[in-house]
């Protein structure tokens, strides 16, 4: 199975944007990158769960990553993308402001996380990488996928 | 390319033999899951060789062997036996089986027996 590689060598990552920051997720987890598409609301679930979409016949839950990180919402636009992840056979979509870069990050360049990056709590982050004047924050996928307790409207 | 009819009630066993034979470029003429089918398929397919399990429902391998032998005396039949079936193997040899192989099958054993019978 691909995916769980914790190689201490190079990490191939996808770079995406949320507000003013750039984030990175290992390519191994990414199944595809989709344009924004209709999402069906699910009643009574956490507010950051946008709903489910029809991804080529598979019902795929979609998470609004801004809401997940407590960043203020913004209208979806042409640049909005859904990163489709595949974690242990379950597909899951992350709505992000934009995604357009694939990079190799040397593991040695990953530095410990400063306490808060762009408002995202430390626990969701695996580290930061400085590369050619750009700063990327590497996400901690498992933590993000753990549900929060605050149910919407309940 | 010699053709082989595989007879065994366990499809697992048939698969094992089939795999061994296919890797050695044999042609699988057919598969039978009991003695009755074996006799019918033999008459229909006239394979060069039969691997015949001894213990099977409906009709056991020895009876099937005898029936095949009585209508086709030249039939090349190799018995597939398990430990503890010595007496039955000997019965089968007397009834005209050309050789026998013992479970668990080992590819080289199976091929050795088959090559000797056909060679």
């Amino acid at each position: 199975m691909a995916g769980s590689s914790n190689d201490e060598k190079d990490l191939k990552v996808i770079i995406f944007q949320l507000k003013d920051e750039e984030y990175a997720i290992e390519v191994d987890f990414i199944q595809s990158i989709e344009r924004m598409q209709p999402v069906t609301r699910i009643p009574g679930v956490e507010a950051y769960i946008n709903g489910v979409m029809n991804l080529r016949g598979v019902i795929t839950p979609v998470i609004d990553l801004r809401k997940r990180f407590g960043i203020e919402s913004k209208e979806f636009d042409e640049a909005t993308r859904i990163l489709v992840l595949n974690k242990e056979g379950n597909e899951l979509g992350f709505i992000v402001d934009g995604a357009n870069d694939v990079m190799d990050i040397p593991a040695s360049k990953i530095e410990p996380t400063p306490e808060v990056v762009g408002g995202v709590a430390e626990e969701y982050l695996r580290g930061v990488v400085k590369l050619e004047n750009r700063l990327f924050t590497l996400l901690h996928l498992d933590k993000i996928l753990q549900k929060q307790e605050d149910k919407a409207g309940a | 390319m010699a053709s082989v009819l595989i007879v065994d009630d366990a499809s697992f066993m048939r698969m094992m033999i089939k795999d061994i034979l296919e890797k050695n470029d044999f042609d699988i003429a057919g598969e039978a899951a009991n003695g009755q089918e074996a006799v019918e398929l033999y008459n229909e397919l006239q394979p060069d060789l039969v691997t015949m399990d001894i213990t099977m429902p409906e009709k056991d391998g020895i009876e099937a062997l005898k029936e095949i032998k009585s209508s086709s005396p030249g039939a090349n039949i190799i018995m597939c036996s398990a430990m503890g079936q010595q007496a039955m193997v000997i019965d089968a040899i007397q009834a005209g089986a050309k050789d026998f192989i013992v479970k668990p099958f080992q590819a080289d054993r199976v091929m050795d027996a088959i090559n000797k019978v056909l060679g």
């Binding site: 069906t40 699910i42 009643p43 | 899951a33 409906e58 430990m83 668990p104």
Partner: protein
């Protein structure tokens, strides 16, 4: 073919054989005299042994080997089928099952089978330490390449005489491959070859020892023949598993003078080759089984492939919906006809695919006889389990789920239903209680019923307990029918077990059983007569993956309500709605029906346009057993065949939503779990 594919078939087939062994053992226990059953069991054990050994699962092979030995004794009337013997064999089967489970879970199939093997060996009258048939004692062997055969006077006479008649004498040392397993049979084949070309006048070790495999791997024969040495060697090497053949000409000149005895004695001796004596020994084993395997007309298909097929077809159904929608918009005759035909064909295809996924409930039922046997022993009760309609088919997703809840219900019937034999006797019943497990088709449903002729349910006790635990109020009870009162057994936190036995009352109540069945779209009901027995009835849908629904609209959202839960749809005037106990209700066909407002339950964002001008409610009347409710929606869209899809693990417990489906326009609609909406 990969190792894993072998393994899959191996596991499948092993399970089948274990099941056959279980069934036949139970049968044998009923008819201990029927040795044809023993034959069947023997055959299954034997096949398992061969398969296990092939895959290198030694404990499996070892255990089945010992089982086989015991069965052989039974078959030959050397061992009686007592309850003790059965217990040990069952124990062995349990171990085998554990091994197979371990293997199917990716384990190595290693299991400590010593205890059971010891029991089996004791049954065989063996000292537990002695190992099986392979314990061949090694005779002294000649060192390779040096044949040193000694002949007595009589043998020399024979040798001399035959040489005068033109025969040559050879000493032939034959070595079998060290891995040869049936040595005697190999030796027999060698002798057959030799006897075609001459006469064997002596063998070392002697024939009877060869026959008993009392030799290592090498033996020496003396052959009188006119065939050349090389030719003899070639012929012997034609036999498999012969590793070497050495031939030496016997020089008999020194004894040429001694020629008195006749030659026919030689022949006599030669004839006593090994195994001829064995001919008469036990003949073929199993009798023609009534069931017989039906391998000839079926092929084995991996269930995953069927799932893939189903998934692909589901996509087709979605596109079919889309195509139907497009063609109705375009209104082109040719397109319409084509789409119509396609729809019809895909309808047929749907039926076939759904049928392929159907499996007989026997898959689940077949483990119950064993369970009932051990359970009744454990509880000291006599129980006869009758299974009716085991061939009834259900979708495999349902089959996979109903096993555990059924186990619970059957345990419940035996534990709480069937009385102890003395109690039964004193109340004029036969000592042996009967539990009947029935499955049958009816319309779009399959019913599974468990009926016992035990003590029945004490209504008063149920009521008291229910009041005690706050499950119901006195008020509620007044309106309840008997069945509804029995149904309280399935309410959360209910248990009537007075003594907590090892069997039930472990905290898992019947409410779990109910919710499992309900999650499958099933309904559980109970009926009972005190002193006569109880009947638990479960109604299940035939299939789960493609279902008929009513599509409804709530504001701008679409929801699907399974047709199986719908009694009818209705439109009522808002004036007909009353309030009772803070609950909006309507009087519907003389019954008070509570209303459930979907836009409230699902917090549906209101539509932009004003709706107050509407004087009517659109209702979908749903039921769950006896209870009824009216779902209030904005509009009814219509009836559709839809493909049920799971929301996945991430969204596992969404209230009142059982899944989702993809509509013709590609949108996702949620499927309403009506059971959650009726209290």
């Amino acid at each position: 073919m990969s190792q894993s594919e072998y393994l899959e078939v191996f596991i499948d087939e092993s399970q089948e054989h274990l099941q056959a062994i279980n069934d036949n053992l139970l049968q044998l226990e009923k008819e201990p005299g029927d040795l044809s059953i023993v034959g069947e069991i023997f055959r299954s054990a034997h096949t398992l042994k061969g398969m296990g050994a092939t895959m290198g699962f030694e404990d499996l092979a070892h255990l089945t080997h010992n089982m086989e030995n015991v069965l052989d004794l039974i078959r030959n009337d050397q061992l009686e089928v007592t309850s003790h013997v059965m217990d040990i064999v069952f124990e062995a089967v349990d171990d085998l099952e554990e091994i197979i489970v371990d293997i199917s879970n990716g384990g190595d199939g290693k299991q400590d089978v010593d205890a059971v093997v010891k029991h089996l060996e004791t049954l065989q009258g063996l000292e537990p330490a002695a190992s099986g048939e392979e314990a061949a004692t090694a005779e002294a062997v000649q060192p390779a390449n040096t044949i040193n055969e000694n002949y007595d006077e009589y043998e020399w006479t024979v040798l001399t005489q035959s040489q005068e008649q033109g025969y040559q004498a050879y000493q032939i040392q034959i070595s079998l491959d060290e891995k040869t397993m049936l040595k005697a049979a190999r030796v027999y084949m060698v002798f057959e070859v030799l006897e075609q070309i001459g006469d064997v006048i002596k063998s070392t070790p002697p024939a009877d020892e060869l026959e008993e495999e009392k030799f290592d791997f090498t033996f020496v024969v003396t052959l009188l023949t006119t065939t050349e040495a090389d030719e003899i060697k070639q012929r012997i090497l034609k036999v498999s598993e012969i590793s070497s053949v050495y031939i030496k000409t016997v020089n008999i000149d020194p004894y040429k003078e001694n020629t008195t005895k006749e030659k026919n004695q030689v022949e006599e001796k030669a004839n006593s080759s090994p195994a001829k004596k064995q001919e008469k020994r036990k003949k073929k084993e199993s009798s023609p089984g009534k069931k017989g395997t039906e391998l000839n007309k079926t092929i084995r298909v991996n269930i995953d492939r069927l799932d893939v097929l189903m998934n692909l077809f589901e996509e087709l159904v979605i596109d079919r919906g889309r195509l139907e929608q497009i063609s109705s918009e375009l209104n082109n005759t040719e397109l319409n006809e084509t789409v119509e035909r396609m729809s019809r064909i895909s309808g047929d295809l749907q039926e076939i695919i759904l049928n392929m996924r159907m499996m007989p409930v026997d898959q689940v039922f077949n483990r119950f006889p064993r369970m009932v046997r051990s359970l009744s022993k454990e509880l000291g009760k006599k129980v006869n389990l009758e299974i009716i309609g085991a061939e009834t088919e259900l979708d495999r997703t349902i089959i996979d789920e109903i096993g555990d809840p059924l186990v619970h219900l059957i345990r419940n019937s035996i534990d709480h239903g069937i009385e102890h034999p003395d109690v039964r006797k004193s109340s004029g019943k036969s000592e042996e209680g009967t539990v009947e497990l029935r499955a049958y088709h009816s319309g779009n449903h399959v019913f599974i019923e468990i009926e016992d002729d035990g003590a029945g349910i004490n209504k008063e006790k149920v009521i008291n307990k229910a009041l005690e635990n706050g499950v119901v109020t006195e008020e509620d009870l007044e309106k309840m029918t008997d069945q509804q009162m029995y149904g309280l057994l399935f309410a959360s936190g209910f248990s009537t077990a007075e003594e907590v036995t090892d069997v039930s009352g472990r905290g898992v109540g019947l409410d779990v059983v109910r919710s499992t069945f309900e999650s499958l779209g099933g309904v559980v009901t109970v009926d009972s007569e005190l002193g006569k027995g109880s009947l638990f009835s479960i109604q299940l849908p035939l299939t789960l993956s493609i279902i008929d629904v009513m599509l409804v609209e709530v504001a701008e959202e679409k929801y699907a309500v399974p047709l199986t839960a719908i009694i009818e749809t209705a439109i009522v005037n808002k004036k007909e709605v009353y309030s009772a106990h803070n609950q909006k209700v309507i009087d519907f066909r003389g019954k008070v029906v509570p209303l459930v407002f979907l836009h409230e339950i699902f917090q549906v964002p209101a539509k932009d346009k004003d709706e107050t001008d509407n004087d009517f409610y659109s209702l979908v009347i749903i039921n769950k057993g006896e209870k009824v409710a009216g779902l209030v929606v904005d509009s009814l869209i219509g009836q559709h065949d839809i493909v049920l899809k799971s929301l996945g693990n991430y969204l596992s417990d969404v209230f009142a939503i059982s899944g989702a489906t993809i509509l013709g326009d590609g949108q996702v609609a949620l499927i309403v779990d009506t059971n959650a909406l009726i209290k």
